[in-house]
């Protein structure tokens, strides 16, 4: 059961310090007298966290990051971020005597000649995939439950920047071994950069220190990968967590859950123990995966050479949507003007993907502007109770998923015996039309679920029992919903579309008109929560529901 916080645990400790003079007590006292840490422990230890599985997804991301830091530190002991050419003389026979960069050679050594090196590489890489995946799922949870609303908008932005930085970390790491796959990935980035009008070529030369691939890029990416990006990520994670503490955790609607309280366990001792244990569980899962499944077998790919490209060359999953976006562009989107080639196939991808990313990042502000809602929200929305938001989310997920799937178009073609063209054309259609379809379906499903909830609150569950009344009438006995359940079903805020009101000068500006239009679009179709009056009436109308028990 969930409990409201109590002070017992911390007070017990405080009393214990004075009474018994054991080692723990005196050590704690020693530290407290010099750091005054008991204040912080008291404050944080009594912090309440609600318990729900979906609240642990962010923790999974955090723990994956810790695993990445640990395994990554190990790898830096042996990795050489240099593109100086060496001849591989390690233990993997099919690469013996092949010239390659020191980066590739040292990664081969980590994989084959350093004890535990391959395991650490695989732990690092699998944890990186899990890191971004957990962030993604965490973001979806935040979005669909409306946890980004005031006062948490800034924390959404911070979290989203962390997501972008995680992708950047992933990509720079993917490029470090200087194997064929990473080189191909960099070549695509080089092409993307060069496709930017006017500054593209210059930027590419700046990035690679001359013509691609040059001899600088691995060293530069290494600095970003192990120094700059992790430092920013750590700082932002700290801010992210600080905000969680400052704002208090959100909770799902349930009996007794209000915007003024938090129902759950205190951090000390229960939640801390659970969270601490959970770290080791996540670590264990990553270890298990890393010890059983190969990831990024650079020995197959061989050293980078600009001429070969392997079939099935893809980026890691989180860059897939960008790769897929480029695969979906029809051929021939280029033109020459004033002796310069303009690559719309690249510019359009950059624009669309960029717009998508920015929209997601500032979504909390967009929604707040449309709804005009300036209240604080600490109780989450059930996705069905915000149909338009849920529908927008479904559309966004469909759009992203179509781009993402397109990155594996060739694998889908071979494994499902389809034509590559068929796969691409289908995904082009789902990218353009799918979001609209998803929006419509999701919104209707939400409204239908809301109607069902309303029905349940007013009339209870169908029991399947048919009773014949003395007058000869047949009625089905409904099982009324219990009060706890009813709380969950009726406690959501109702919105009405904004009214257009003239400002102080008595004018209605165009921005206000747009806003009112969007607000109408947002809230036009809605199911209002059941009111007390309706509830009383409903029970009055159906005496059979309550009398028969």
């Amino acid at each position: 059961m969930t409990t409201i916080t109590t002070r017992e645990s911390t007070e017990d400790q405080a009393v214990g310090v004075k009474k018994s003079g054991g080692f723990t007590a005196s050590a704690a006292n020693y530290i407290d007298e010099r750091t005054s840490i008991s204040g912080a422990v008291k404050e944080l230890g009594r912090k309440i966290f609600p318990d729900h599985w979906s609240f642990l997804l962010g923790e999974v991301a955090l723990y994956s990051f810790v695993i990445i830091l640990l395994s990554g530190s190990f790898l830096t002991f042996f990795f050489q971020a240099s593109m100086a050419e060496v001849v591989y003389e390690g233990s993997y026979a099919p690469l013996k005597g092949i010239p390659m960069s020191a980066a590739m050679s040292s990664t081969m050594d980590i994989s084959f000649d350093i004890r535990g090196g391959l395991l650490m590489r695989q732990v690092h890489h699998w944890a990186a995939l899990l890191f971004v995946a957990a962030i993604g799922l965490h973001m979806l949870r935040i979005y669909f439950t409306g946890a980004f609303r005031k006062p948490r908008e800034l924390n959404w932005v911070i979290g989203f920047i962390l997501f972008i930085l995680a992708m950047a970390e992933g990509f720079t790491g993917y490029s470090l071994p200087d194997d064929l796959l990473s080189g191909n990935g960099l070549r695509i980035i080089d092409g993307l950069v060069k496709g930017i009008p006017v500054v593209g070529t210059w930027t590419s030369f700046l990035l690679f220190g001359g013509e691609f691939p040059g001899t600088d890029i691995v060293g530069r990416l290494y600095s970003l990968h192990i120094l700059l990006l992790p430092a920013i990520i750590v700082a932002l994670i700290a801010m992210h967590l600080l905000f969680v503490v400052v704002h208090k955790h959100t909770q799902y609607p349930a009996a007794g859950h209000t915007n003024q309280n938090v129902v759950g366990y205190p951090v000390l001792p229960v939640y801390a123990a659970k969270a601490g244990g959970f770290f080791f569980i996540v670590f264990g899962v990553v270890m298990l995966i890393a010890s059983l499944f190969t990831i990024n077998p650079i020995w197959n790919y061989g050293p980078y050479d600009p001429s070969p490209v392997s079939a099935g060359t893809q980026p890691d999953w989180y860059i897939g949507f960008a790769d897929g976006a480029m695969r979906l562009i029809p051929p021939g989107w280029e033109f020459v003007w004033l002796n310069h080639t303009y690559s719309l196939n690249i510019v359009v991808v950059l624009a669309v993907v960029g717009l998508f990313i920015v929209t997601v990042m500032i979504y909390p502000f967009i929604e707040a502007w449309i709804t005009g809602d300036k209240r604080e929200h600490h109780v989450l929305d059930r996705p069905r109770n915000a149909p338009t938001r849920t529908a927008i989310g479904a559309a966004g997920v469909t759009f992203y998923a179509s781009l993402w799937a397109a990155a594996s178009s060739d694998i889908m073609a071979t494994h499902f015996h389809l034509t590559m063209e068929g796969v691409i054309h289908t995904l082009q259609a789902t990218t353009l039309l799918g979001p609209f379809l998803a929006f419509f379906i999701a919104k209707r499903v939400c409204l239908a679920l809301q109607k069902k909830d309303r029905e349940i609150v007013l009339h209870g569950y169908e029991s399947g029992r048919i009773v014949r009344l003395p007058g000869g009438e047949f009625v089905e006995v409904h099982q009324p919903v219990d009060e706890y359940e009813r709380w969950k079903l009726v406690s959501y805020s109702d919105f009405k579309p904004l009214m257009l009101r003239p400002n102080a000068q008595g004018k209605i500006g165009p921005a206000e008109k747009v806003r009112a239009g969007l607000s109408r679009w947002f809230f036009e179709d809605r199911i209002t929560p059941v009111t007390q009056t309706e509830l009383d009436h409903a029970h009055g109308d159906h005496p059979a529901e309550i009398t028969d028990k």
């Binding site: 318990d51 599985w53 092949i98 996540v282 190969t294 073609a413 389809l418």
Partner: protein, 270 residues
Amino acid sequence: MTTIKTPRARRARKAGRRHPLASVALIAIGLLFTGGAYAAFSTSTAIATTDASSQQTIAQGEKLFAANCATCHGLSAQGSSEGPSLIGVGAASVDFQVGTGRMPMQMQGPQAQKKPVQFTAEQTAALAAYVASLAPGPAIPAAELLDSAGDSANGAELFRINCAMCHNVAGAGGALTEGKFAPAIENVSAQHIYEAMITGPQNMPVFNDMNITPEDKRDIITYLKYVEDNPSPGGLALGSLGPVAEGLFIWIFGLGAIVALTVWITAKSN
């Protein structure tokens, strides 16, 4: 060039070299040499085909051909609208197509697919002998080229440069246009790999002996057999498909397991 020391002779040479027809003669000589060398090469690959098979085997092959292949390839292997001519494709081609079960073809499609082999080794050899008897073509490779004892590092490099763009670096296969595909090369015999290289079945280009020497082909086979015989050092290879398989795995099994554990951790005790 030969050099003759006497001034007189040198003068005569000079005059000869500047003769108006000298360049024409030079081109003629050059063409003669390259053409001759090419002819010598292509016949040398064809020689082995016919002499190994007796007339009896060829006759048996002809009967099998008439019964199983002629519907599409024509009664004398001249080809039809349903199938190409087999004159000059050589024994290697027949051994590959029939020996891997691709022929007789199950159905028309983007390309012939592997299926259980329909003929015995003896019958396949007879068919090969018959087709080889029609015209010279690539022969079934000698055993010493198939022993997988070459230089795997050289083979791996050649494979990455020449083969990996369709077949994937680990030979896991890949997609081509319009439903065609490069099949996976796991568990394909050395002989069939070699034959595929010299005959270019389906959509595969021919890698003849001047493009990739027989020694190099042996190295490539050595590499492929190395990959096949040595399991991935990192554990299960997930089909060697690269990041797509890895991404799918982490989302379904990695994150799936983690979510199951979060549900377990937050479950209320009864």
